[in-house]
């Protein structure tokens, strides 16, 4: 059963296509991420699903129903906004209760739902506070609580962790994942952070310039990127050209060797020690490009900057990414 279906939707702003024709089906209970650099159209897609933007062409189906012309306030889904958009003149509690009050829910039920939402997001001691009295992470929690209190079929999240610092983001990522599993709600998540996308998602849609580059599980996308953009946007990659076309080899699949017979050779330009891995940056001979080789902890050979080295890999690790 598909909760959301986008049928050939496209969006133009002033004659400019920001989203090229796109079809996408999102399964019930799925954690789907729209991943791409800023301006790739991912937020526009989210806003079309939410009902804030009308697609120029195509249809949006929600649980099988065509909702293309249904306004945002009548769609059974909720959006967690990028900058939270909490109501500054309302307490945490009133913010969370807002959607339920709009639905004219009985008072008792509202109380239960709010209690449930604050408990789940660990906001119980902050119920009476106003948004400006909260830290960024706490505001983020309120934004999520306000959305899930409505028990929507689908929760849309627009870069929800974008404004937070790294440590907090890591914590909230696992909380989000946990929340999604517990609630069993479908999450449609927008981010430009590929690591975040890999960690959270069941499926990732990679977007660039308003087009879908690839749709797949994190594993598929990492191991089998289909386009140059997908290959280089998610994780580090080395792209080579051959008469047959472009192919990519991940840094951990490259092997440095001092013996002759390697596919390429070059000079080590930098050695980066990162703890669990160390990386060699090699400037190839007769080619403008540099490659990165990642070596795991088991490699204890000393590598020197300026040293000549061969770069080898096995053909099965080549991933064809284009003509």
């Amino acid at each position: 059963m598909h909760v959301i279906e986008l049928v050939q939707i496209e969006k133009h702003f002033q004659g400019q296509a920001v989203v090229h024709p796109l079809s996408l089906s999102i399964k019930e209970g799925e954690f789907l991420t729209l991943l791409g650099p800023s301006g790739c159209g991912k937020t526009t897609i989210l806003r079309m699903i939410a009902g804030f933007e009308q697609p120029t062409e195509g249809q949006v189906l929600l649980a099988g129903q065509n909702v293309t012309d249904v306004p945002a306030n009548k769609r059974d889904l909720n959006l967690v906004f990028q900058h939270y958009a909490l109501f500054p003149h309302m307490t945490v509690e009133d913010n969370i209760a807002f959607g339920l009050k709009m639905k004219k829910m009985p008072r008792q039920l509202i109380k239960e739902r709010v209690d449930e939402a604050v408990t789940m997001t660990q906001l119980t001691p902050l119920r009476e506070r106003f948004p400006h009295q909260l830290s960024g992470g706490q505001q983020q929690r309120v934004a999520i609580a306000r959305a899930i209190a409505n028990k929507p079929k689908v929760l849309l999240l627009d870069e929800p962790l974008g404004a937070l610092d790294l440590q907090l983001r890591k914590n909230l990522q696992s909380e989000l994942k946990h929340l999604q599993r517990t609630l069993g709600i479908t999450f449609v998540y927008v981010t430009h952070d590929q690591e975040e996308a890999m960690m959270l998602s069941d499926r990732i849609v990679i977007m660039n310039h308003g087009r879908v580059e690839q749709i797949g599980t994190p594993r598929e996308i990492y191991a089998r990127p289909q386009t140059l953009f997908a290959a280089t946007f998610v994780g580090e990659n080395n792209v080579f050209s051959s008469p047959e076309g472009l192919f990519a080899v991940r840094p951990e699949k490259l092997v440095p060797q001092r013996e002759s017979g390697a596919k390429k050779s070059g000079v080590i330009e930098d050695v980066q020690y990162l703890g669990s891995v160390h990386k060699l940056l090699v400037q190839l001979d007769n080619e403008p490009m540099k490659v990165t080789i990642a070596l795991d902890i088991s490699d204890d050979r000393p590598w020197e900057v300026g040293e000549r080295v061969g770069v080898n890999w096995s053909t099965k690790d080549e991933v064809i990414i284009g003509p």
Partner: protein
């Protein structure tokens, strides 16, 4: 923090020299008496306050309150939609809207008010026009009526209401409306629960500005109201200048300022109370 306090010195000096000290002098005078020539005599008296309770003055006091409040309410009703429109328009229209609102200030206040005399008098533009169209058979008495005074007040003080409301609306985060809509609020409910509370500070500022300016205004009453209608400020003016009864004028001033302060406080309180109940409503 401490160091920057000296920046307040000029304004504090200014306020104490030209506002607080004169106010204290006025309060002092209101408790003194005067001799037959109008000179102030340094002996304690409540004569000024007693005179206030003359039905004539009580009536004027009441009229002033009603006129000022009415002006404030009408200004609010006219200005809010206008401010809302400008705040939500394109940047170009916003600039032009604001210019058009401030244009009247480029012309002297008296001239603007006298212009209304030309429009409203018996042989004035409005009457001539209505006669010409044939809607009336003889000129209507518009000038020197309560309505003319009200019109003049509203006309003069609309910008005082529009500008603060505009600022409040313009500064509001428009994404809040998306959020409200996402949570199921119709446009009206989003306005009622989000926009309106968010523009409260503007409404408060505007209302206080208009109320205080209207209630202290005597020129408009003089020019458009003629001799018939007086406001408390006309009386105060005449007590200080014409009648030379300073203690009475001072007493009226004190009562008047006190009334304004109490009203503003009550108004503030009412707005605060609303604040607490936001989101509870229908």
């Amino acid at each position: 923090m401490r160091k920057s306090r000296f920046l307040l010195t000029p304004v504090l000096l200014w306020l104490s020299l030209f506002l607080i000290v004169p106010m204290l002098i006025v309060v002092g005078i209101s408790f003194l008496s005067r001799d037959s020539l109008g000179n102030i005599v340094f002996s304690f008296s409540l004569e000024g306050y007693k005179t206030f309770f003359d039905p004539l003055y009580l009536g004027i006091y009441w009229d002033t309150l009603v006129l000022s409040l009415l002006t404030t309410v009408i200004c609010l009703l006219v200005s809010y939609p206008l401010a809302y429109y400008i705040a939500n328009a394109s940047p170009r229209i916003q600039t032009w809207g604001l210019i058009l609102i401030t244009v009247p200030f480029w012309i002297n206040f008296l001239i603007r008010t006298y212009a209304w005399v030309l429009l409203l008098r018996t042989q004035g533009v409005v009457n001539s026009l209505l006669l010409w169209v044939g809607w009336i058979d003889e000129p209507i008495q518009m000038l020197y009526t309560y309505g003319a005074v009200l019109l003049g007040m509203v006309y003069n003080f609309i910008p005082f209401m529009v500008l603060p409301i505009y600022v409040a609306l313009e500064q509001m985060d428009k994404r809040l409306l998306d959020a409200a809509s996402d949570l199921g609020a119709s446009r009206w409910k989003a306005f009622r629960h989000i926009t309106l509370p968010q523009s409260k500070s503007g409404i408060m500022t505007g209302a206080v500005l208009v109320y205080v300016s209207t209630s202290g205004m005597f020129v408009v009453t003089d020019i458009l109201g003629g001799a018939k209608s007086s406001m408390i400020s006309n009386i105060i003016q005449s007590q200080f200048l014409g009648a030379r009864n300073w203690p009475f004028g001072a007493a009226l001033s004190v009562i008047f300022v006190a009334t304004s302060l109490v009203l503003i406080l009550l108004f503030n309180r009412a707005m605060q109370a609303r604040h607490q109940r936001v989101g509870e409503g229908r």
